[in-house]
Symmetry: C2
């Protein structure tokens, strides 16, 4: 019951039925997703007629339809979210929403298996006549991911059977004898690989592999943005770093990891590891955000990381979690889980408003102006304001948040032989099964990340099983103990044999700390940031005295760490420039993921030093 379940390799993630998140930072967000976001997305999809597109196609109406070429995918992502959520909560209302929506989608399927509302109907362009921009296989991929979620949580149903027919149609159309091309927007690759895992059918894996191998040979047209926009510039196994459209690059990389793992393609896996390393080293924000350019929603060059024009799309965060988690499962290296954590707390948690009904599409690290208010009942441009918006012209992010939060339990822990690795610290219960079939039950109590203490009560343990706890790279001075006895802490982990009735406590140092930028990142030279555990902090003008321009504030350099403030913030000494003068002014930083919640504001993560 997990979004990614490798068949090969020796690390198996726990499912959402095994990781029960309850309260705390993420439990609250899962509840808001359940209570508000799913309904919110369904409402907008109806209101804008994007669901009705399927009804029209079912009735053979063809012609123009509502929304952009990828509108179908939003319905599919909500279906995936509903599938996870129905399994997670057993809520009959969610199950009903899933079934009603699935039925309308399935009704639109053509007799040969094709399913889509934009191409191939009367008065519409022909199928696959615009592989560069048409998003047909991208949409198919999201349908398949929804079906995989359903298959793993429920078993075969109408939607699953429809998705299998779609997959068969894709294999027949784009197989070795078929159209020798790929979709402008990767996504089908990861979807087909997971469908192969979920069904055991190898032809889906082979097709995923074919798509991965074809790309990079210039099979798509050379567009004005350049072929790197859709990663058709360099074959995946020859590339050294991610480039072009960030979401495309990351979805492709995630699918390529699946292909590499399932086919035992070590060379391909090594290439992807190298790409991840290079991308995280020089093309990733301190928030874990990826994508430095609005133009092409793209990665920049190495060290091109402007905070103010950071695109750092929410969906790139979702995709970075998918890619990094797969590399963790493939290698067991904790640094991939570190990146997952960074993205979860600073991108995934940043996008949705506290009420779950408004979202950031882009996640810049610097907001220069207060920004225009957002129409609380309107459709916004993608990346236009300092305020979260209810819906977008291109509205991939809200539905991506919904499916990620619903399936979040799938990214928390994994079995590796006799070791159970717990890599994300979320309050709740882990109820899993050891290799010998014995139940293992752990209760995790924590107010992380605001506080650094993670207490794990071992209610049931199995013989010979050890628990491995990730120690993040930032957590210098972390300590651990079991029933009061100290445990050794290595660079990135703590290992402790599981004994029923024992209590394990991991203490991570979440006091505020200064972070200096790489000297090669020109855009933040002379600045510092403050982090607190995995959480990046920021300064908002709403926290400054009335009338203060954020850009007149500079922090006073010091070797003392910043002081903690309530609600996970920090207090730092600063000055406010007023003409040639600089007056002292202490300022309070707050978690970046909360920014914008106090109204229109200027904001910055990187603070100039006096």
């Amino acid at each position: 019951m997990s979004p990614a379940v490798p068949h090969r390799g020796d690390r198996l993630p726990l499912g959402i039925d095994e990781v029960l998140i309850d309260g705390g930072f993420w439990g609250t967000r899962q509840s808001v997703n359940h209570e508000a976001t799913l309904e919110h997305c369904l409402g907008w999809l109806e209101r804008l007629g994007w669901v009705a597109n399927f009804d029209a196609t079912a009735q053979g109406m063809g012609g123009p339809r509502n929304g952009r070429e990828f509108a179908d995918s939003e319905i599919y992502k909500v279906l995936e979210a509903l599938a996870w959520e129905s399994a997670r909560t057993q809520d009959p209302q969610v199950e009903g929403q899933y079934q009603r929506l699935a039925a309308r989608v399935v009704a639109a399927q053509a007799t040969d298996g094709y399913l889509g509302t934009r191409f191939g109907g009367a008065g519409q362009p022909g199928r696959y006549t615009d592989l560069e921009w048409g998003h047909e296989l991208y949409c198919a991929g999201h349908l398949i991911q929804a079906a995989v979620a359903r298959l793993r949580t429920h078993g075969e149903d109408e939607l699953v059977r429809a998705a299998l027919r779609v997959a068969d149609h894709v294999v027949a159309t784009f197989g070795p004898e078929g159209i020798e091309s790929v979709c402008g927007h990767p996504e089908i690759e990861v979807a087909l690989a997971e469908l192969s895992r979920a069904t055991g059918r190898q032809e889906y894996l082979h097709q995923a592999r074919l798509f991965v191998e074809r790309r990079g040979h210039g099979v798509l047209a050379d567009i004005e943005l350049g072929r790197d926009y859709f990663q058709d510039d360099i074959p995946v196994r020859d590339a050294t770093v991610l480039r072009g459209h960030a979401v495309r690059a990351l979805y492709l990389a995630a699918g390529a990891v699946d292909v590499a793992v399932e086919t035992g393609d070590r060379e391909l896996l090594d290439a992807l590891v190298a790409q991840w390393e290079a991308t995280v080293a020089a093309r990733t924000y301190v928030t874990g955000g990826m994508g430095s350019r609005h133009t092409g929603e793209a990665f920049g060059l190495d060290h091109e990381l402007p905070p103010d024009r950071a695109y750092s799309e929410t969906c790139a965060g979702v995709a970075a979690v998918m890619f990094s988690w797969r590399l963790y499962l493939a290698t067991g290296q904790m640094r991939y889980a570190d990146l997952v954590e960074r993205v979860l707390y600073n991108v995934i948690a940043t996008s949705p408003a506290a009420d779950g009904r408004a979202f950031f599409y882009a996640n810049p690290l610097h907001q220069r102006v207060h920004g225009a208010p957002v129409d609380p009942d309107g459709v916004s441009p993608r990346a236009a304001s300092s305020q979260r918006a209810p819906w977008f012209q291109v509205s991939c992010c809200p539905t991506n948040i919904a499916r990620t939060l619903a399936g979040l339990g799938g990214y928390v822990a994994a079995w590796h032989g006799q070791e159970l690795a717990l890599v994300q610290y979320m309050a709740g219960t882990i109820r899993t099964t050891a290799p010998d079939g014995s139940p293992v039950v752990l209760r995790v109590s924590t107010a992380y990340p605001e506080h650094g203490r993670v207490e794990i009560q071992v209610d049931q343990a199995a013989a010979g099983v050890a628990l491995v706890l990730r120690v993040p790279a930032w957590a210098q001075g972390a300590t651990a103990e079991v029933d009061g006895a100290a445990l050794p802490v290595t660079a990135d982990r703590v290992r402790v044999p599981l004994v029923a009735g024992s209590t394990i406590v991991l203490t991570l140092p979440v006091a505020p700390r200064w972070t200096a930028p790489d000297r090669r990142v020109d855009a933040v030279r002379g600045c510092v940031a403050v982090e607190r555990g995995p959480v990046v902090l920021c300064l908002e003008s709403v926290a400054l005295p009335d009338g203060t321009d954020l850009h007149d504030v500079a922090v006073v350099p010091t070797t003392e760490p910043p002081r903690s403030s309530a609600e996970g913030g920090a207090l730092v000494r600063a000055v406010r420039y007023a003409g040639a003068e600089a007056d002292p002014l202490d300022v309070e930083l707050r978690p970046y993921h909360q920014w914008g919640e106090r109204g229109p504001t200027q904001m910055r993560v990187w603070l100039p030093q006096r």
Copy 2:
């Protein structure tokens, strides 16, 4: 014989027949324009079939045609360049090129005056059905500007008559009773205003004013880039700063100055002055370049001036010269001529290669990678490389350079009553007429900007006439003398009565100097630049020891000015980082306008300090 000739206001620019540039920095560039660039542009326009579009329209062929929707405008800009150049050089070959090209354009005119190859023909979209993106009035504007050049240098001819019919058609179609809208790309405004000046016909001025006044009221559709993209967000007289697409904003502003001056609209002129001030203060690069964003080719917010992603389009430089020159003529303030100089030396001079057959479209201040070689015989994307390209998919810049260099003499000097103001220092001869009808002849000898001495021999003078020389704001310590006797130098000018036979020498301090950035420009915090007179210098990796990454070099802070080097460069003390070490390494900076001439290279204007 000048691109801008106000009827009202009391400053009158000298024409290209009065300012004879000969040798030196600009004379060389005018010669290259004559020998290479004009032919180069004509060749590409033929090769790509953009001229043939007119033949097809003349034959009533309609249907699809070659190039983008604004392709016609490139032919018109070359016609304008040829018109100035024919008058400037009296070269019969240029005159022949003009006449042959003009004849093909004129042949395509419809009987009702409409002239264009993209709309209104059989199988084409209807006229004015896409005001947001169609560029029909933009193209008409460039045709009219070509006709104005011809009218002022030659008098009426076939092309002028065609343009008058076009203008009449525009007035009839978009007048008070006509379509109540504007063109997505401003240009018709400045063109109609100049046509009114050149013909004395008020209806063209009224139409220009109507277009200026309509814009900003949301008369165009709300596009994804936002209405500020084409300045339809705020009325011109209410705006406080330039925003949106830089070329559009600047062409509009230039036209609005013309309207304000000719109609005596002081409020409108004051608004434009305020917009210029705010834009130059916070939205302009040290090069004078404008446009901080690739997305929308747009101005950024205040102090959003990233050097690496600077768009700083060549055409925005052309338009900034047009806008600033008009404000100089309207007000006599030298700061406008200062900006013209900055743009001429660092944007206009930067775009064309020394051979006049390749161009920069964008003019970033930082090039991170050597960049892919450019196809010397191909069509390049707009802003993709560190190398100049022969032609672009959107190829507005080469033809804009051609017309600007051909008409350059029109931006050098102006009469203001009994004062002759010389505001740009170019070697050559000024042969003009005083208000009393007497000839005034000045010979300007200078190796400016490499050297700071400007010698003016007064061959003929008129009674009561004084010469005013601009002293740039950067020229602290400038001196002046007449026949060896010192002249007083005020903040921005020297004034000296003209006496035949005398020699006036202005000495501007062009030794290299450090320039510190505004502390609010985040993207260059902790950096310095070096300027030398009006010329911005830069460091290229081709000037570093083999294998040195430009980003490992930092300059050593010092209060000593940089030393001069040959060819207008400077030597500065620096270090090269190698791991934790920093080894001394002296580096030579060269004029930014020469960058890229030594092959693919990294480059930066703003240098990090150690």
